[in-house]
Every structure is written in C-alpha cells, then in structure tokens.
C-alpha cells in the first residue's frame, strides 16, 4: 500500500519534473511544477508530515506558483525559442548533473541498509511538536525570518517600482 502510493506519486513527480523540462511554454512548465509539488505533498503525508503537506499545497502550489503564473501573464511570455547561446551547458553541464545524480543515487542506495524504512503512521509529527520546537528552541531563526521577508518586500518594491 505504502509502496504503491510512493511509486505512483514518485513517478508523478518525476513525470511532472520532466514535463517542466520538456514543455516549451512557461505556463505549461508552471502547471507541471504544480503537479510535482502537489504529489510531493502526498509523499510528505506518507512520511508523516501532515502539517508540511498542507503548507506545501498552500504556500507552494498556492502562493508561489500563482505568483509565477501571474508574472508570466504580466510579461505575456510566449513559447521560448531554442536559441543556442551556450555550448558549455550541454558539454559540461549535463554531464555534471548526471554525475551529481549518479553519485547521490549510488551513495543512497549503498547506504539503504544503514537507513531505516518508512511505514505508514509509524511516525506522525503533530502541529504541537512542530510549534514547540519552532517557538522555543528555534525562536531566534523564526523571528529573524521576519527580517528576510522585510528585505524581500523592500526589494520587490524597490525593483519593480515604475521609474519616475
């Protein structure tokens, strides 16, 4: 059951990701990214992170991607044309990416024995545990994120403001 779900949504993720890669139109890419994120949310559930799953859907699929699509519309970006500005990207980049994947996958699979297994409901993180940690041990980082947000707003305003 767990395995099946994992495979279904895992495949969905990968498919969405590949689709993002293959689609020519940004909107399609955005939509396929949403697919990835949503299915990730399911995987979070499987891993017992229900709050995260919710947040994933709301924040990511909801807020962030909406923002993306909004910008795409705003700049009405059309089909991207396959210009050939960069050989290096293919010559060195793709091998690099492959190598990264290779070594990570190799290490993970090699260590699977040392890693545990995930079974449904074996470990559930409640909002209560989360908030305990978040508002006690990690209070400072949490507070500091406000600065981050502030900076972001400030920047967005400063950059996107029309010249006078």
């Amino acid at each position: 059951m767990h395995l099946v779900l994992f495979f279904i949504f895992g495949v969905l993720c990968v498919a969405g990701a590949l689709n993002l890669l293959l689609q020519r139109h940004p909107i399609n890419s955005a939509l396929s990214l949403i697919v990835v994120m949503t299915s990730l949310a399911v995987l979070y559930l499987l891993l017992g992170a229900e709050f995260l799953a919710a947040a994933q859907v709301i924040v990511y699929s909801g807020a962030i991607m909406v923002l993306f699509t909004f910008v795409i519309m705003l700049l009405n970006a059309g089909e991207e044309e396959r210009t050939h500005g960069s050989k290096a990207a293919y010559m060195v980049g793709i091998p690099g990416a492959a190598a990264v994947l290779g070594i990570l996958a190799y290490v993970f699979l090699k260590q699977r024995g040392n890693l545990g297994v995930a079974t449904l409901g074996s470990y559930l993180v409640t909002t209560h545990d989360l908030s305990r940690l978040l508002f006690r041990d990690l209070l400072l980082p949490f507070e500091v994120t406000s600065v981050l947000i502030l900076v972001a707003i400030l920047g967005a305003v400063a950059l996107a403001r029309k010249e006078h």
Binding site: R136, L139, V147, L150, A158, E163
Partner: protein
C-alpha cells in the same frame, strides 16, 4: 538566562535591524525629491552603535543564547567588528557617490543594514538553520542591491545572474545541510561533531560537507564556482561591489571555519585536499584571468577570486594559526578592497563613468589624493610590506608552510608575483600623463564622507601592516574558541 542577557548576544544584529526599520519608517516621511542623505547618516550612526555594541560584547562573558542557536565569542565578535566596519565605509562611500535624491536611495541604506545583520548572524550562528536564514538575508539583500543600476542594461543583468546562480548554489548548500542532518540527525553545529562520531551513515557527512563547500565556495567566489563574480561586479554599482566583495565573503568564510573546525574536524583529511585544490585553482585562475582585463571592476573581481584562494590556503593549515591567519586575511583584504572601491565609486559614480583602466590615466594630475590612495590600496593588494595586504599574505603562508604545505606556498607566492602585473598597470596609468582629460574632469571634488572613508581604510591598511598586534590577538583568541580544530594534528597534514 535572563532575557536581557540574551538580547546582549544579538545586540549588534538587533541594532542594525532596528536602524533598517527606522530608515524605512522615515523614508516615506521625506518629501518626494528631498535629499535622502540624512537616512544615510542615520545608517552610519546605527552602524557605529552596532560597532560599539560588538566591542562591548568583548567585555561580556562569552557563551550561547536562545537555546544554543547563537554564540558570542571572540571569533564571532571579530567578524562582527569586521562586517560593521565594512558596512560603515560602504555607507560613507554611498553617501559620497550617490546623488542626494537618487532613486530608492533610502531603500539601499535600509538594505545595507539588513544585509549586514544577516551576515553578522551567519558569523555568530551556532545552528545551521540560523546560518541558512542569515545567508539568505545577506544574499537576497545583495541580489537586490546589485540591481540598483536600473537605468543601465547591466544592472538588472548582473542582478539576475547573481540571483539565479546564487539560488542554484543555495540549493546545493541546502542539500548539504540536509545530508549532514541525515548523517547526524541534528543541525546544531557543536552537536554535529559529537554525533558524527557515532553516526552509522558518516558518508552522508562527507557528501554533505562537499555540498556545503559548493554553496560557500560560490559565495566566496572560489574556483570552480567563481564564474559569476566578474559579470556581477561589472554590472553592480561600485559601492555595492565594494560591500559584496568583502562582507558576505567574510561572513561565508566565518561559517565555513565554524562548520569545518567545529562541526567536521573529524573529516579534515577529506576536506583538506578539496580546499587545497580550490585554493590552488582560485589563486591561479583569478590571477591569470585578471592579466588581460581592461575593465577595472572586472579586474578587481578576478583579483577577489585570487584572494579567496589565498585565504583558503590558510584553511588547509589545520592549525589555530591557520584559523587566525584566515580571519586576519579576511580583514586585511576587506579593508584594502573596500578602500579601492571607495576611490573607484567616487571616480565613476553610481553609474560607472570611468570603467577602463585607461580611463584612470593621469588621475594623479587631477587629484593626487584619490590617485595616492588608490595606488596605495593596489600596492597593498600586491602585498608590499608594511601594508595589511602583505602581513595577511605573510601570515597565511607562514602558517601554511608551518604545516608543511610547501607547494601550496610556492604556488601562492608565485601567483602573487604574477598578480603584480595587473595591479601595477592601474598604478602606472594613474601616474602617467593624462590622455582624455574630459573623463577626469567629470570626477567630482572629494567630499567629507569620502574623506572619512579613505582615512579609515588607509589607516586600517597601515595599522594591519605595521602594528597588527591587537587585531592579531583577537583573531587568535577567536581561533582558540573554534577548538577542537586547533587540536587537529598537523602531522597528517604535513605529508
């Protein structure tokens, strides 16, 4: 521990954040095209207070706060002082270079303050999560600042390059943290060292270490993650470049030192070779790339790559001396580089009127002061004795050689020989007879803030070169707090 006592641990950061907020509050109150300079002076004031605060922290007992997420010790204080100093000079330079009612100047000042607070957090963070947040604060604010030359096509381009590649690297950095968390089940830096010993997947630690190196390597523009630097430096406004080529780097180096020497000393014979290579390549690539560079900002970008390399040499020394050397070098590089950019900013303004080395030909005739100080900083960058640049280099290589890294030392010093060529070209140009004086005439008169900035940087460079005693002592004290790294036996390294 009482709340007040905890507050003291983040006093400088807090003050800077507060300053930023105040600026944001006052900015709208000013008339539309009233001068924004007062905000700048406010920022200067805030920075000065922060500086004083971190000095005061030296008097306080050292230790952690907020459940061990943050720590004040000589090490963090050293970098706090450094960052505050850099920011101070940068603000002065901006005050001098920017037009009084330049677009969103107020935001710039605010961003500088916020960014500084982020960097300080990085330096004093004891928790990878806080490191990450601090890193993001500093990064995002620098992305934005890089885009501040919105009129010119170059500004946004440099911003987008910096932003995309930066986020790209951040993703690696995050993955690294994830892996380390995977290896140890914690993100608390001191904890990691202990738990890694008992971890049953230590290999994740190694991979995670590499990933973190990628992220930090990008921030400090070390080879092979240096590609962004020249373009970004060229496009960004000069004062901002002065800042982003020093302060975030210093913070990033602080993080790296903490992580490597406090969290992962056990893996030193994994990361020492990596850093060995990064150092050697950075020095070589940086210097060679700069040789034929005509654009002075790009040239300094390459030079900053090279200097990152020199600094990384100290990491490989695996000794308290090495850590102290790294810290000291960060300081000396910062001082002279910010100074150099102060002159460039004044000469070129926010929108780079003077871009090429040749444009500076004959500056000595136009303004001996600017010429003299620029030449002085470049000479210090070469590493001529009695300047901070020299003593930094000297100390770094002394510690490296002490750990038996003969070849790295030779590579480094030969590189510093090659570097002479491109550092000297501007110096010579400055003192040659002028060709197109119209550009030189466009250079405004020296203002008070610039004068202050130059005095600070020149004095700093000289002090670091002639009487480095105090700074050295602080750096050493900081190094001691990063044990057990200091106890890493250098015999393994000596091979």
């Amino acid at each position: 521990m009482t709340g007040a006592a905890q507050i003291f641990r983040i006093l400088p950061e807090g003050i800077l954040i507060l300053t930023g907020v105040l600026i944001m509050l006052f900015e709208p109150l000013l008339a539309k095209n009233a001068s924004r300079k007062p905000l700048g002076w406010l920022a200067v004031l805030g920075t000065l207070v922060a500086l004083a605060a971190s000095l005061w922290q030296l008097q306080l007992p050292f230790g952690t706060a907020y459940f061990g997420t943050i720590q004040t010790d000589p090490f963090s204080i050293f970098f706090h002082l450094l960052i505050a100093g850099i920011v101070l000079v940068t603000l002065l330079v901006t005050l001098d270079a920017a037009a009084p009612n330049a677009e969103s100047l107020g935001e710039l000042f605010a961003l500088i303050c916020f960014g500084a607070s982020g960097m300080m957090l990085m330096a004093s963070a004891d928790e990878l999560l806080l490191v990450f947040v601090g890193l993001e604060i500093s990064s995002i604010s620098t992305y934005i600042m890089a885009a501040f030359r919105r009129k010119s096509a170059k500004g946004p381009e440099s911003a987008i390059k910096y932003f995309l590649l930066g986020s790209f690297a951040t993703a690696f950095f995050l993955y690294g943290i994830a892996l380390i968390f995977g290896a140890t089940g914690t993100t608390d830096i001191p904890e990691i060292a202990n738990l890694l010993a008992v971890s049953h997947v230590p290999v994740f630690g190694i991979i995670g270490l590499a990933m973190i190196l990628i992220g930090i390597g990008f921030k400090v523009s070390a080879v092979p993650f240096q590609v962004w630097a020249p373009d970004v430096y060229e496009g960004a406004p000069s004062p901002v470049v002065g800042l982003m080529s020093t302060a975030p780097k210093a913070a990033a180096f602080a993080v790296l030192l903490r992580v490597l020497y406090t969290a992962l000393p056990a893996l030193h014979n994994h990361w020492q070779p990596l850093i060995w290579w990064m150092a050697a390549l950075s020095m070589t690539v940086g210097n060679l790339g700069a040789l034929r560079q005509q654009n002075i900002k790009r040239m300094l970008a390459y030079s900053s790559i090279a200097h990152a390399g020199y600094l990384l040499v100290a990491f490989t020394a695996l000794s308290a001396d090495g850590i102290a050397a790294a810290s000291f070098y960060a300081a000396s590089y910062a001082v002279m580089n910010v100074g150099a950019f102060a002159v460039i900013s004044h000469a070129g303004g926010m929108d780079d009127r003077l871009t090429l080395v040749q444009d500076y030909r004959g500056l000595a005739y136009r303004s001996p002061l600017l010429a003299g100080s620029l030449a002085f900083f470049l000479i210090s960058l070469i590493g001529i004795p009695f300047t901070g640049g020299f003593f930094g280099k000297f100390y770094v290589f002394a510690s490296a050689l002490h750990s038996g890294l003969v070849w790295l030392t030779i590579i480094g010093l030969v590189n510093s020989g090659i570097a002479v060529y491109y550092y000297l070209r501007p110096v010579v140009a400055i003192y040659s007879k002028p060709v197109h004086s119209d550009l030189l005439d466009s250079i405004p008169a020296v203002t008070v803030p610039l004068l202050l900035a130059l005095v600070l940087t020149v004095a700093g460079t000289l002090i670091l070169g002639i009487a480095p005693g105090r700074v050295l002592a602080l750096a050493k004290a900081g190094a001691q707090t990063l044990t057990p790294a200091a106890t890493v036996d250098t015999t393994t390294a000596a091979r």
